[in-house]
Amino acid sequence: MNKNIELLDNNKHRNLKLKSTTRFEHMYHRNMVPLVANEFMHAAINFPIFFIKEANTAEFKAVGLLGFDQDENLYFTPERLNTNYFPLNVQRYPFVLTAETAESENFAIAIDTTSNLVSDTDGQRLFTDDGEPTDNLHKVSAFLSELMTKELATKKFIDYLIDNDLLHEASLSLALGDDGNTSLNGVYKVNEERLDEIEPDVLAQLHKRHYLPAIYAHLTSIGQLQRMVALKRMKSQSK
């Protein structure tokens, strides 16, 4: 766990207040954001969706790509927001659901105390004077547990794609104008040729499990790479 992330504690954090944001400053230097399958449709009209492997475990996860360089975010910038959709994993900040202890299977809410949304003076409280959770905190809790359910469903979705040979590594090369070319490595996508020749029983399963909308949203979203290239050009021109 990140050292500035603390398990929420009704004594330690009793007077903590939370401001609301529409700027999402914590995203400015992140070039991707984890997504859940049933937000693909909303994400797809803004940025490309890919599958990547977690660096230390090689577990697959779905992400929205927001920048080409490591610290680059072309959608969440100090000047403007270039997206009309804010993924659940953006909205949850500064909260996260985490295991209570390293061995525990129970989850608890933790908070990034260094976030500039956290304050002692401004915003809404998380606990009452008696240490009871406020309605505000109840909402956070409900939001996080719903997100977790959706993440588990997304994991199942990805496992199904892999088991049916539907994912493959994407090889993408992009012309960035004056900045030269860039190639995207280590990103995976649904194999369209395989999808075209899918066995009827697998297709029936994809339909029954409501996976088809997510698959097509993902495939469509890859076209958003062109928008990213345009955003990148605009950014380098304004410099």
């Binding site: 492997k53 977690e54 230390n56 475990t57 090689a58 493959h168 590594e169 995976y188």
Partner: protein, 518 residues
């Protein structure tokens, strides 16, 4: 009676028997196909396996893929680690005041920026940089204890080319399970008591103590040094090669790590000694070490002491095992309806990890040349014999090269090893040509030559072989491009090393999470 070849009987388990069984069964026999081949392996419950070599070469990756094993399962079950090179220590000169000469035979082939870098290294760079560091970043990865890939790299792919170190006994056990469960190899545990021949000399059947008589159309002799079928029954003689390769004994020792976070070397360390050389191989749970030596130049007690001295204090609690070795091969590998694969076919010192390699190569060759009927068998046999003999001879050339280029004169073993009459003519001819020009692709015209141009380049120039280009230097006009390349390589080296985990980290991640097939 039909002449078609329907039943293959493999006699002997161990690495050779089970690897052959898996390769043949995965390529020749399918359950669904009525024309498939039945593969049966007869293994003695009493004869222990020798466990040839713990080192492999990169072809092992293709072989594992071919027989349908997952790399994750292989690494987990065989305590396997990643082998990126062989580090040859003290081969050129004996150590002096604690200083050692060393070079690496890398598995990543030299980079080629549109031209061979070798002449430019010879002409301009060899005082500035080691050959392996000019043409690759892999030697530095090995020195830094890094893995050749990341956990996110898909199975059998690498940032650098690699092979494996493995526990041979565990590998045989995994191959046994896989052969039976996945490829329907019939497994019979019994001792062979006698061998029956037909009138034409073919092996008709083997008789066993507990499984009766087992007949077959084709027999594969994987009985190890015993060579029960091809040697004892069919009388194919053994050709001794001790006049070129002097080592004839090994003393082996398994050494535990200090703790389970100790670094694991990602290369074999082969250190020249007074009458042979020591191997040092890092597996996940222990190191496998040993000293291969020539009993003409030392005695067994001294040899054991050399190994103990090499290992140091950790050797005190370790037992060692003495293994006599017969260096050479059978004059035929396939006679009548019998093929020898593994130690029964022959043995060479494990300097370039050729034991398992020759098993893979021969089994794949048998698949390609597999006769449909008894009538076409002699043709297949002739082809396999020619190719396999060529392969063994070229491996001997390559192993001898390591000794022949040495400038050691500290013991008679090394002095005798550099006498031209102990080297094969084929090697001497090549070396003569390479004194005046760098080795070329066309010097290696057969794809059945296991060690190719790139392997020779690493050894020749790791050992400072002198190629005199003074009369031809005008032909080499890429000097500027070479300097540019050298700068690019330096940048690449820094970049690529930053992204790799340590070898131990990767092994731990694989044990915990596994690698993905895509």
């Amino acid at each position: 009676m039909t002449n078609s070849i329907r039943k293959v009987v493999i006699v002997g388990g161990g690495t050779a028997g089970w690897l052959t069984a898996n390769i043949l069964a995965s390529q020749l026999s399918t359950q669904k196909d009525a024309h498939g081949i039945d593969i049966c392996l007869v293994e003695s419950p009493d004869i222990p396996t020798i466990g040839v070599g713990e080192g492999t070469v990169p072809t092992m990756r293709q072989t594992l893929k071919l027989i349908g094993l997952s790399e994750t399962e292989f690494v987990r079950e065989c305590d396997a680690t990643f082998k990126q090179s062989i580090n040859f220590v003290d081969w050129l000169y004996p150590p002096e005041n604690g200083k050692h000469h060393a070079y690496q035979h890398l598995f990543q082939y030299p980079a080629n920026p549109g031209f061979d870098l070798t002449p430019y290294w010879l002409l301009h760079e060899h005082h500035n940089i080691r050959y392996e560091d000019l043409v690759s970043a892999q030697a530095q990865a090995c020195h830094a204890g890094l893995a050749p890939k990341k956990i996110t790299t898909k199975e059998f792919d690498g940032v650098f080319d690699y092979a494996y170190h493995l526990d041979a006994a565990k590998f045989a056990a995994l191959l046994t399970k896989h052969g039976i469960q996945t490829h329907n190899v019939q497994h019979i545990l019994a001792n062979v008591t006698s061998v029956h021949q037909s009138a034409n000399g073919d092996i008709a059947s083997i008789e066993t103590d507990s499984a009766g008589i087992i007949d077959g159309d084709l027999f594969i002799d994987c009985t190890g040094f015993a060579c029960m079928l091809l040697g004892d029954t069919l009388g194919v003689p053994f050709e001794d090669k001790n006049d070129m390769l002097f080592v004839d004994h090994a003393v082996a020792m398994q050494v535990p790590y200090a703790d389970d976070t100790a670094p694991i070397a990602s290369h074999t360390i082969a250190t020249a000694q007074e009458a042979g050389w020591t191997w040092d191989i890092g597996l996940t749970q222990r190191r496998g070490t040993g000293y291969v030596y020539s009993s003409q130049y030392t005695d067994h007690d001294t040899a054991e002491q050399v190994l103990r001295d090499y290992i140091g204090p950790a050797a005190a609690q370790c037992e060692c095992r003495h293994i006599p070795m017969r260096i050479g091969y059978r004059s035929e590998f396939w006679r009548n309806n019998c093929i020898a694969i593994g130690l029964s076919a022959g043995f060479l010192e494990p300097l370039e990890a050729t034991a398992i390699l020759l098993i893979e190569a021969t089994a794949k060759l048998v698949v390609e040349q597999f006769p449909a009927t008894r009538l076409s068998m002699s043709h297949s046999a002739k082809r396999v014999n020619t190719i396999t003999r060529y392969g063994w001879d070229r491996v001997i050339d390559f192993i001898k090269l390591h000794y022949f280029l040495s400038r050691r004169t500290d013991t008679q073993f090394w002095i005798d090893n550099t006498r031209p009459e102990t080297a094969p003519d084929s090697l001497l001819e090549r070396l003569e040509a390479w004194r005046h020009r760098p080795p070329a692709e066309s010097d290696f015209f057969s794809k059945y030559e296991i060690f190719q141009l790139e392997n020779y380049q690493y050894v020749l120039y790791g050992m400072d072989f002198h190629t005199d280009l003074s009369d031809s230097r005008k032909r080499y006009f890429h000097q500027l491009q070479t300097q540019e390349f050298r700068q690019r390589m330096a940048k690449y080296q820094t970049h690529v090393l930053k992204g790799l985990p340590t070898h131990r980290e990767l092994i731990d991640q694989i044990r915990l999470h596994g690698m993905k097939a895509i």
